[in-house]
């Protein structure tokens, strides 16, 4: 077999050494750093993207939390406003009612006073009409004008009797 012919050992070992060392240098200095750099870069990019994703997720969660907080706050605020408004309106309505009642009471009082005055006036008129009528009646019946003072006294006594 040619494999065991020592004549070919030296040239094969020599060229093995030359080519193997050449390949080693090419791999160690050129090829492997290149491939390693590509792989590292990919790994870094993947890690970066994962980090970014985690960060964005955290941000989104924070935004959701802030939104919910704002929502709760505005709901509470709205409740407060509604309550306050309702209270204010109730108070206002009560005041108006009170005011109106007072005004109406005054008007009623004034009306009563007016009625009383009118009644007085009417009664006064009745008296003078009664006096005149009594005087006329007496003068017709008796044929002579009665004493003005007596007639007035008689009418007053009759009105008092009537109440």
């Amino acid at each position: 077999m040619p494999q065991f012919d020592p004549a070919f050992f030296a040239p094969q070992l020599f060229w093995l050494a030359v080519t193997f060392v050449t390949l080693y240098i090419l791999m160690a200095k050129v090829a492997l750093p290149k491939i390693g750099a590509v792989l590292d870069e990919r790994q870094r990019k993947i890690d970066d993207n994962l980090d970014k994703a985690a960060q964005l997720k955290a941000e989104a969660e924070a935004a959701v939390a802030a939104y919910e907080k704002a929502l709760a706050e505005s709901r509470a605020h709205a409740h407060a406003v509604i309550k306050e408004t309702a209270e204010r309106l109730a108070k206002h309505a009560e005041e108006r009612t009170k005011e109106l009642n007072a005004k109406l009471g005054e008007q009623i009082k004034a009306g009563e006073a007016r009625i009383a005055a009118a009644k007085e006036t009417a009664l006064g008129n009745v008296r003078s009409v009664a006096i005149e009528v009594a005087a006329a009646t007496v003068s017709r019946l008796a044929g002579a004008a009665p004493d003005q003072g007596k007639v007035e006294m008689a009418v007053a006594a009759a009105l008092k009797e009537q109440g």
Partner: protein
Amino acid sequence: MANPIEQFQIKPIIPLEVAGVNVSFTNSAVMMVISVVLVTAFLTLSVRSRALVPGRWQSLAEIFYEFVANMLRDNVGSEGRKYFPFIFTLFMFVLFGNLLGMIPGAFTYTSHVIVTFGMAAVVFVGVTVIGFMRHGTHFLRMFFPEGAPIATAVILIPIEVISYFSRPFSLAVRLFANMTVGHIILKVMGGFVVSLGAFYVIPGVVPFAFLSAVTVLEFGIALLQAYVFTILSCIYLHDAIHMH
């Protein structure tokens, strides 16, 4: 039928002699140079675009890189990092030697025991030097593990010494024998196909089918033996760095 041994014949192309030593550029050297050129071209051109999403060639280059890197990490650990270029070179050199040898008519340099022994000797000497540099004389403990009874030393030490020194030979012979035998079988089968096929077509089909199957098998062996050569080197490196 062609002589199945003829394919292993070394043919000087450029006769050279340096200081009385024959260093002729032979058909074996041609294949080694082709391997170096192909491996370098493949691994540099494929990652030239530095694509984030690799294409076909870049994927293949990355697979080789990660395959050897994982092999080294699994077997040696992080201390093996600095030997990665050597282990990778060893793997690619053996793999391309085996695969290029599958091209009909091409010379297979890994079928020469002096070539495989040259690489195995470098691994053996390198690993031994690394062992002594890391552990000093304590590295001799390799031959007599801690905790073994003194009485067993008589048997244990010779066995360990023999097994240690047989490493380069087993490493070299395994690769050389696999390649040589595989190529002889291919050649013999090829001869049968030609001689029987010339005689009558039908009988030629049988050895042809067998030849096809063996060719597929030989491709598998080409890959497997490159892997075996490399992983055994890794295991020896592990022994040197971590002892047993």
